[in-house]
Amino acid sequence: MKKRAAVAVSMIAVGTLLGVTACTSTPADSSEKTIKISYIKTDAFTALDTLFNNVKPVFEKAHPGVTVKLEPIAATDDDYKTKLALSHRSAETAPDVFYEDTSNVRSDADAGYLLALDDYVGKWDDWSQFTDAAKQAGQGDDGKIYSISLGTDTRAIWYNNKVLTKAGVDVPWAPNSWQDILDAAQKIKATQPGVVPFNIYAGTGTGEGSNMQGFYELLYGTDLGKDALYDSGSSKWVVGSKGFVDSLNFLKTLYDQKLALTPAQALDPNIWKEVFGTLFPKAKLGGTIEGSYTPSFWVKGGSFEWADYATDMGATAFPTQNGQAPGGVSMSGGWTLAVGAKSANPQLAFDFMAEALSFKNALEYDNANAQIAVRKDVAADPSYTAANPFVKAVTDMVAFTHFRPATSIYNQISVEVQKASEAVITGKMSPAEAAAAYDKAVTEIAGADKVIKK
């Protein structure tokens, strides 16, 4: 035994020594300045990679001696955010410029990961082109600007004209209440076996997406409206609301009556690829809630090219619960660019970011990625409105859209909402039980003085 232990110890020793040398053998960047850019690049999302690859040579030419190191990360949004947060914990690994979700701006600013940009934007001529809503999206809890919006989005019902017509539902479709959606879904179920009538994402599998393209469209369409999740007047999180239980009940009906995807499919993190790539093009899905960026997957050069999408698909606003004002519900998010607080060359980093957000680059990016423009000059450009047949419809939804209460604990609350919807669609809890569990978790996360019963 002793001998074995000694062998084990020496093996561990050798292993660690190897590990140590492996770590130290990476060459240190010396005199030349390097700025490091982190962002997501997947087979379904290449627009940002294209943008940075266009900016890199221009920027390096204008700044001799500066190397731009692009570090695309192939990951889901959640994994990317985790990796990014971990890399921020040391100046060695923290990127100079990075892609940042608006919902993380406040918490990451609180965590000290983001550089306040007020001094930089003050000297930047283009800043006046950004809409006020876009400026606010990059603000921290302290009111400083921490990140700059690349574009925003809205959420709509995307429906397949063929499926609806076959079911006897008139297109263009304009449901006025939740009941209208159930009615249409029942008609599809009755006429077309094997077709998923109407999907609403739910559960933790699709992460934040299941709230943004799912539960929030329900919740914000209940009687509490814009204050259904977070009461803006008192700055407190809402618990015990009827709307929350009603929304869960709607999900339960949809999933229990087999009008949506199966729970197993809904919990698959990659299900959205199937929705865009297979279900809609093959007319196997009646409708779903998805982002305004939806056409970007189908256009020429998109991940799931589909020539007929413009005629086969339709987009309409998600209705409020009983058709109450304002008649439609939409959620807006969007991603931004930010500068790392630990960056050794903040001015260079900002200059790179400014170049990436210039009129020309923003226009190209917004068109390629079907983003809703946040620069006034881009929004006014004829090529922007002509990018795809749905631009006007989804841009009009800005009128009644909601933004997430992106406070520093928002992401933790978001996870609790996902857990509640997952518990309901999998049948683990009744809507009332799931809502009670949510209330308890929110009270624990936010503190008893930061919740309000409605």
């Binding site: 000694a6 947060a85 993380n104 609180d110 965590a111 919990l267 993190p269 996870v415 999998t426 683990k428």
Partner: protein, 318 residues
């Protein structure tokens, strides 16, 4: 009976500890000699302290803070005492996760891998060489695969339109979505497939060390196959069994990649073993401190198992 020939095996007899005499004649000189003899161990001890004890202490400290991946606690984490452990105690997921970890470890390692490994090893040592090589290469192949590859293979096998369901379809049966409907069964089978080779190799080596004369002697004394196995072979490889059990238990307690790729702990928390729970809390939900507390509990469970096995492995006194 043949018991007097069989029970105190030579292997056990040889394990008596030498050098217990003279504890009363201890002098200063002897103490110095003993210290000098310790010197070669110093580098090993230093490395153990830095790379083994260090992280453990650090993880324990981390579990007493509210460190987070984002938000204000990421910038300034503070000491919160045992709050994370109190929270864990009241967390409804924790007992479930603990239970799933125990089920996973017992079912896939302690029972399946161990018995199957021993069984195949017994067969292989008796079978003809070519067949033996074929069988062990098949088993070992699963073990040679990197864990992430093995995990994807299992995912492809058990997923809804995977290999297993296609085979079933060939027989006219419709298989369930294994990863969703029977997540624990799927990951237990996957870990069994992947891990059996380890036990097989360990047992093969041990069985080769059992002198054939003893078995033969038992056979002449009239012991049948089962008796020879229970009275000769198993007592002689008892220490190997204990060591093997310890190693596979500790390996299985910490299985992460396999489960994360196959089910990610779901659906709901139905296959969330403690490593998955720790990962989810720390990295998915950003509560590093809480996740570390779960990891510390896992460490303690591993330590308890080790102590039990080490005690069991102690040579018994005649």
């Amino acid at each position: 009976m043949t018991a007097n020939v069989l029970s105190p095996t030579p292997a056990v007899r040889n394990r008596q500890r030498p050098g217990r005499q003279g504890s009363d004649g201890r002098t200063l000189g002897k103490a110095i000699v003993r210290l000098v003899r310790m010197i070669p161990l110093v580098p090993a001890i230093i490395i153990m302290v830095i790379f083994l004890a260090g992280p453990i202490v650090w993880s324990f400290y981390g579990s007493l803070t509210n460190a987070a991946l984002t938000g204000p606690n990421a910038a300034h984490s503070s000491f919160i005492g045992l709050d994370n452990y109190v929270k864990l105690w009241n967390d409804p997921v924790f007992p479930l996760s603990l239970w799933l970890t125990v089920v996973f470890t017992l079912a896939s390692a302690v029972i399946s891998q161990n018995l199957l490994g021993l069984g195949i090893a017994l067969v292989v040592t008796r079978a003809n060489k070519r067949l033996a090589t074929l069988v062990s290469s098949f088993v070992v192949a699963a073990w040679i695969l990197p864990e992430i590859v093995a995990a994807f293979v299992c995912y492809a096998y058990f997923s809804k339109d995977g290999t297993l369901n296609q085979i079933l379809a060939g027989f006219g049966m419709t298989g369930p979505n294994w990863l969703y409907s029977f997540p624990m069964l799927a990951i237990i089978l996957a870990n069994l497939w992947r891990g059996t080779a380890f036990s097989l190799l360990v047992y093969q080596a041990a069985l080769n060390d059992v002198p054939p004369e003893i078995s033969e002697a038992a056979m002449i004394d009239g012991a049948g196959g089962v008796k020879r196995l229970t009275y000769v072979t198993i007592p002689m490889i008892k220490n190997t069994i204990t060591t093997n059990l310890m190693l596979i238990t500790l390996q299985t307690l910490s299985v992460f990649t396999l489960i994360y790729v196959m089910t990610a702990g779901g659906p709901g928390n139905d296959s969330t073993t403690l490593p998955i729970m720790a990962y989810k809390e720390a990295f998915r939900f950003s509560n590093i401190g809480y996740g570390t507390a779960i990891a510390t509990v896992l460490l303690l469970i591993g330590a308890v198992f080790s102590v039990i096995y080490i005690r069991a492995a102690r040579p018994e006194k005649d």
